[in-house]
Amino acid sequence: MIEVQHAWDIRIVLDLTFGGMGVAAFIIAFLYYLRGEKEFNVKAALVGMVSLLIGLLILVTHLGKPEAALYTLLTPNLGSVMTWGVFFNILALVFGGLFALPGLVKLPYTGNEKVMRLLGTLGSVFSFLVMAYTGTLLARTSIHLWRTPATPLLFILVALSSGVGLYALAAVAFKKEVPRELIDFSMITTFLALVTTTSYFAIADISTEAFRYSVHLMLSELLGATAALYLLGFIAPLAVYLYNRKKPSRTNLIVLAVLLILQSLLARSLIVYAGAVELPW
Amino acid sequence: MLVAEDGTPLTAGTEEGKIKYLVWDLARNKAVKHEEAVLPALEGEFTVEGKRAKPVFQLLKEKVSQYTPEWAEKITGIPAETIRQVGVEFGKTRPAAVDCGWHDPKYKNSTMTWRAAAILNALVGSLVKDGILITGAGSTASPPPDVSEDSVTRIWGAKQGVAMASKGFTFQGFLDAIEKGEPYRISTAFLFSVNLVLTGPDSRRWREALKKLEKVIAIDIYPNDTVLYADIILPEHAFLERDDPLFGIAYAPVAGFHTRVAAVQPLYDTKHVIDIFAGITKRLGENYYNKFWVSFAKNLGAADPQAMGAKLREAYEKHGVRGIRMVQAQARNIDPAKLESEGLVVVKDAETLRKEMVQRTLTGRLLTPTGRIELFSFALNSIKARKGYQPYWDPIVAWAEPEVLGKADGRTTFYLIYGRVPTMTHTSTADEPFLSVLTPDFKRMAWINRAVAESLGIKKGDRIRLVSVETGAAVEAVAFPTDLIREDTIWVSSDFGHESEALRYKKFGVLYHMLTSIKADPVAGGIMSQEVVVRVEKV
């Protein structure tokens, strides 16, 4: 019998969305920080870290017994992707946070370029690991839809797309230019995410029963979400991007940014809610 | 055994109080007492003192010759070839046995059906054989005594033409008494652990009847549907809360006694049923109270009910129901302490009992008039002598039609049958929370053949209405289209259909007896619970 998973719900989706978006925005912010624009990008990095923190707080509400989470640090199981995820999240938050806090308060090392670069690098490394772990976590389960290299890949891609979106919103808020190449980059990630998503459908009919069932769900009960993902998450950003090239405006950028964030939310939601396991009973 | 043309067995008179039945001895070419026969004839026709007679086996052969596999195929739908094949297999295989049935009669011919099964067993030597079938082990195997001539059930049964009306099995007769005052009016019903509105046939009528009575008193452990009609409810101890008297071990092939010892103190303000009756009769006065104890002693089989009654009363007044048990244990030389710690005492174990039973069979000491296993039924023959011939009490065997045969077309009308589920039994599990949710939903639904359901546009989970073709009464059910049931039949579990809102954990089901009607089987007066044809309607 096929059982649709219901252990992980919207709170997991939101954790992964905010998390992926936040750490991707951080990496983008740090890269542009290195290019020279320091003051704004520290603030943008902070926005990223706040997003990561929000995600983690939402996650805590999903845990059945959050107070026991201390054991992840006391008796960690190093064979578990989740354990590594906890480390990466904490370390990203610590180093990224330390890097970004100067955007809010003056700290002793704020002027120290070397320290800032170190913190930023470490923050970025762990941020990338957070991006990668979100999909890998899902891949190491008995849910066949998730158990494919496409899942970590897809989750990295939509994290990057949404990271661009968050960064762009921060830029607009602080009345800064959104770099053209960043927007172009988000079109690459969007396109690749579209291809990766479509690959699930492309191999469904020769996959296992549980996989086929998940895809069937995505095309029936969850058809609305699938349609929303393709229309709002992939096609609309491309359309807005092309339109913005003809008639650039702040509004277009905001719309595009929101759509890119939506792409991440919708993709993760769809994959999580369509997950199913085939039980041998 | 030789039987004359008029259907009576031939005898050589009585010796030492036992009638001596005759068989034809082929060795000496004459009729002799069966214990003297060298080569008793199974087949043939013989003349004894001018009377023509045949052995029972010959009569059986002649009787069943008309019941060919082809004939049976028309009724059952099972291919004649299969019937023949099974017959040959059954005849050639040793050991072989057919379950002789219980919980009947469901049909007008149930008595005959189980007779046929028992005859098959007798023919292949399976009856009362260790390792095959042992019947009557540990029991007296004699019928219960007649009830009083004033008994409502007996009078009603006789009116219906029930052969064994004097046994008073026909509880359904109470309806006429309550509704119409026939044979006389009833004002009060005292119900002990009986869920009449669920288990009485033609449920609607029982509900009205209970409302019509002046007083209804109910003793029970749950607020089940029937209890809700009571004017006075006397809640009783549940099985874990009670000390019981001594009972004979019934549903196991051993001879012995068992009892219940309270495992917990009663949780609520309840009493043991003996406390209730003792308490009521005491309030009625010394005369009634005394009568109660004497009657109790008599029912326990005491040789001197007066003396034993006094003893029981004294013991009860000192130690309650436990005291009664002690008296009973003493009378049988059973150590009360051992009884209370183990709960049961086996006097004769299964092996001993089986051996005894087999021995009795082999030495001709069974309770039949001949002491042997007889295909010929003396009981049914005496009914025939009283009431004339009916296939329902043919002393050998006869096919008799159920009332519903041929009345279902398998397209819009269906035979209704019922069964049980492992998670439910009687009132005591009606409100058991886990048994309720552990019962899979499909076992609460009405099973209808998948192909038939499709043709009627009925899907799994659809609400349907089952309407009794005979009475027009209807009940709602949830449909379960399945291949587990024949095209012309619908199955429901009779275990559900409770409506009492006081039951916290009940779920849906089908109230079976809404669809039955008041009937009495011609032999014993049973309610013939499956003589029902229903129409199916979508809700």
Partner: protein, 198 residues
């Protein structure tokens, strides 16, 4: 040191569900009483360490019924153990997979990792819960409650490392098979599937 396993003979199972109830009364009595207090809905939602599923197959009159049994397979390569972040999920030296209530954070990663659907979040004890092969009974030399209760003897239990045990013999004979082998879990509960007659 044993290697505990179970064999479930689906030919013998009559679908009575006594094993399900025996497990509840043996292992989850407090939770059960709480659910009873809460009423029918809580009971309907009451998760189980073991349960049976009814399968009806065929077309009338050639129909059959089979009951399959869900129970933790106490895998030798348990994915639930490898994914648990705190090590709350662990395997004993006797091959029993258990959950340390203290350490369980309720992330339900193990629920997603188990291909047999054997694990569930028990809100009453605030931990993941599942079959324990009645380890507390094994310690006293008794068999799991479900095994003892089964009226037809459909469930047998024993040491797979003891060649004379019933379970060993059944597995060695090939009559009892493992499920979802392709997941690489190496389960220790084996099933004897019903014979097809004719």
């Amino acid at each position: 040191m044993a290697r505990y396993g179970m064999v479930i003979d689906l030919n013998k199972c009559v679908g009575c569900g006594a094993c399900v109830m025996a497990c509840i009364t043996e292992n989850r009595r407090e939770q059960a009483l709480k659910a009873i207090e809460e009423g029918l809905q809580a009971l309907e939602n009451f998760k189980k360490r073991t349960y049976i599923v009814t399968h009806i197959f065929g077309t009338y009159p050639n129909v059959g019924v089979v009951y399959t049994h869900m129970i933790c397979q106490h895998c030798e390569n348990p994915p639930c153990v490898s994914v648990c972040p705190t090590g709350a999920s662990y395997k004993t030296r006797d091959g029993i997979v258990l959950v340390d209530k203290e350490k369980c954070i309720g992330c339900e990663y193990c629920v997603q990792a188990c291909p047999y659907g054997a694990r569930f979040w028990d809100p009453y004890i605030r931990s993941i819960d599942k079959c324990t092969f009645c380890a507390h009974r094994l310690a006293k030399g008794e068999e799991p409650a479900c095994v003892t209760t089964c009226p037809t003897g459909a469930r047998t239990f024993g040491d797979l490392d003891d060649p004379s045990s019933t379970v060993s013999k059944l597995v060695a004979s090939g009559a009892a098979v493992a499920l979802k082998k392709e997941e690489g879990t190496r389960p220790k509960v084996f099933y004897i599937f019903p014979m097809r007659r004719r």
